[in-house]
Assembly symmetry: C2
Homo-oligomer: 436 residues x 2
């Protein structure tokens, strides 16, 4: 090392910051095995991506600004190309969409448009971290992007026990009360009520209403993340925010799955009043101004144009995509049954949950699933998946793998499952490592 090189331990994130390490490791494995079938990537289906839609959406929004909003060309040009409002330039269009698709009646001043939902998670975690004793809560396992945002904001996330209903509410109560007894200040619970990442599971009606009531009792905010809601198909339950009569819920959204990921636009509805006469969204915007100044108005125009072209409804804009996701998930679950049979646990040491929509299902195993097994699976069998341990942040950690089927074709799912079944058989025959 020469004198101008930097000791790695003098930089954040340190090697102990396991969430960030996880993300790098997983993307590196994927990059080293471009030919593998990947049940790892939680990516939207690409089959309907249309690059021609990009200029069309922008043009639709320009026309809307000119013809409906009545702005002159100079102002339209400025809106699209100059610096602009930190909270976002197309919030009235977003608000109409939230009303139409979600029944959420959001004031435009309570909306902050963000660079993907990741930025919404980060600024929320940062805003809620004002003292060392502040903590957040989330079911363990939970989405690693949220854990990473919290790590960056320097705020701890306490684990809440998982359950077949999606969350153990008794454990939530216990965790909040014991945290308070220990001098900590629980600020908010992060939850993905619909088709959660990684579990794929959804909160049922009863759990939703109990959770809202409990948040009131415990005086806790809820940070509701909703990436998969509008592509889940029939039987959609009302969001927590739509049921929220007490402004307990911050509603986070993403257009990555409903417009396209590369647009990098998300948002946060934060209508909580602060006792200085503002709303929480004002604070979030002030933080955002120091992270990214504002979200690109070009990408906001793409989202707004897409919404305008579909009468503000992304659910109806995504009927083809939703059908593809349902088809894939059904194909995955039926394929697991076909390969492992009705006595999967006894005969093969595996079992799986049965989500009703979304991108993910979880295969639970009676053998150890770790990063070494993933490498082995990629090298020897050509199939990728995500070890579940990357999503746990405390509490019991049953061994297993997250299987994502969102961006595959049914034929790829079949190939991947054949390889997965061979890998499982190999592990159980004790030849893991030996045949590398």
């Amino acid at each position: 090392m020469t004198d101008h090189d930097i000791p790695a331990d003098q930089l954040f994130p340190g090697t102990g910051d396991s969430v960030l390490d996880s993300m790098s490791f997983l993307s590196e494995v994927a990059e080293r095995h471009p030919g593998a079938v990947s049940f790892a990537a939680g990516r939207p289906y690409e089959g309907y991506f249309d690059p021609e839609s990009i200029p069309r959406h922008i043009e639709t929004y320009r026309r809307y600004l000119r013809d409906t909003a009545g702005l002159d060309d100079t102002v339209v040009r400025q809106r699209l190309m100059q610096y602009g409002s930190t909270k976002g330039i197309a919030r009235e269009v977003l608000a109409e969409h939230l009303l139409r698709d979600e029944g959420i009646d959001a004031d435009v001043d309570a909306i902050v448009t963000t660079v993907g939902c990741q930025e919404a998670m980060y600024i929320t975690a940062r805003a809620l971290h004002s003292r060392p004793e502040d903590v957040l809560l989330a079911v363990s396992p939970t989405y690693s992007g949220f854990l990473g945002a919290a790590a960056l904001a320097g705020i701890r996330v306490l684990p809440v026990a998982d359950s077949p209903d999606g969350m153990d509410l008794d454990d939530l109560s216990r965790t909040v009360r014991s945290a308070r007894a220990a001098g900590l200040r629980p600020r908010a619970l992060y939850v993905v009520p619909d088709f959660a990442n990684p579990s794929g599971m959804s909160l049922d009606e009863r759990t939703r209403s109990h959770l809202l009531a409990l948040a009131g009792e415990l005086d806790l905010l809820i940070v509701e993340d909703s990436p998969y809601r509008l592509i889940g198909g029939e039987g959609r339950r009302a969001s927590l925010k739509a049921r929220d009569t007490e402004r307990r819920v911050l509603h986070l959204g993403s257009f990555a799955k409903t417009v396209f990921p590369g647009v990098r636009v998300g948002y946060c509805v934060a209508d909580q009043r602060t006792d200085d006469g503002g709303v929480l969204a004002d604070r979030l915007a002030r933080i955002k101004s120091m992270v990214t100044v504002n979200t690109s108005p070009v990408t906001q125009a793409i989202v707004a144009g897409c919404l305008l072209e579909h009468d503000f409804s992304l659910e109806s804009a995504n009927t083809r995509e939703t059908a593809a996701y349902r088809r894939n998930l059904t194909h995955l679950l039926e394929g697991l049954t076909a390969r492992f049979g009705p006595d999967a646990h006894e005969e093969h040491g595996v079992s799986w949950n049965v989500p009703t929509g979304g991108f993910f299902a979880v295969l639970t195993t009676d053998f150890t699933v770790d990063d070494a097994l993933l490498e082995h699976s990629a090298d020897r069998y050509g199939v990728l998946w995500t070890p579940m341990h990357h999503f746990f942040h405390g509490g019991p950690q049953p061994s297993g793998m997250r299987l994502s089927c969102s961006s595959l074709s049914p034929a790829e799912i079949d190939t991947g499952l054949d390889r997965l079944a061979a890998m499982v058989a190999g592990v159980r025959a004790g030849c893991r490592g030996g045949d590398r």
Copy 2:
């Protein structure tokens, strides 16, 4: 306050976080006075903004990916619309631009493409904050966006004294040594060597080489921010990074002034090696993945397409803009002389510096310039500017105002200067406040 409202003091940023307060206050004043002539906004000139360039740039980049890079349509579509590399999708184009315009030979692996330069500042400040004793340094006054990024990352910025050369290097030495003696760990100096915000001043040749030598002696990194370099016109001096033979310099850039602000694309060249075998850019990318995942590939395509259309040179792409900025700055400086005369200090209590390019000049006053005077100036005289105190973060704070002339026409500059001169006369006649 009902039980679900949030006490303002339980949120970050607290009211003591003056940088963030400053930014909100300044934009609020501007919003309340849309009709005022604004010397406040440091915005690029809008006269040449062309919304038609947006789809054209995207198409240029698509054609490049197809015809030059030889990618098939599916891969091109994926590149533009799917999630993508955290470091950026068009780094080879950015690297060619850095070589062409700046003589910087950057390895693509050392480049991180960011959501504007603001994100580059934030992730840099965050990466360098690994222990409580870590501190950064910057001339006082300095760009408030950098101070905000540091505040968000929780890292202190020590003030270095200003000088007619742009920085007092003796004070830099003293500050670093006394910080170390006090147990602090100075990590890096932030500096805008060309047409600095707010001062407008540039480091001369001698100061540049002395600064680099001193950084070596003091074992300090330099974070070089370069937003105005390519629109400054003749006589441009080599950047610190182009002179950097020891990987002492992180080079931050923005396309806000050279493509357009709404594109929200910036970058960081961080080629410093870390002793775990990586480069600093890897760490920055890991942090970025938790802030915004990746920069919108659509906006990266716009920048890349613009570069491809101009043979990688933004200096030559901006000849009209550069001429407009030079014209405006000359008009502003001549207008000050015309209104305040050769004995401005004695007769009117004002003096100003004479930058050779960029967006800003500073009017120093022998009367107090504060936020109340700005409100008065806006209400009574219809002219906006930025009180200098918003840019100081320690050290002596001479009273004054930053005047930006970048987005105005010569006629607007004349009107604004007439109003400014009337306001100065009013203050000196003692009628400030009385005639509100």
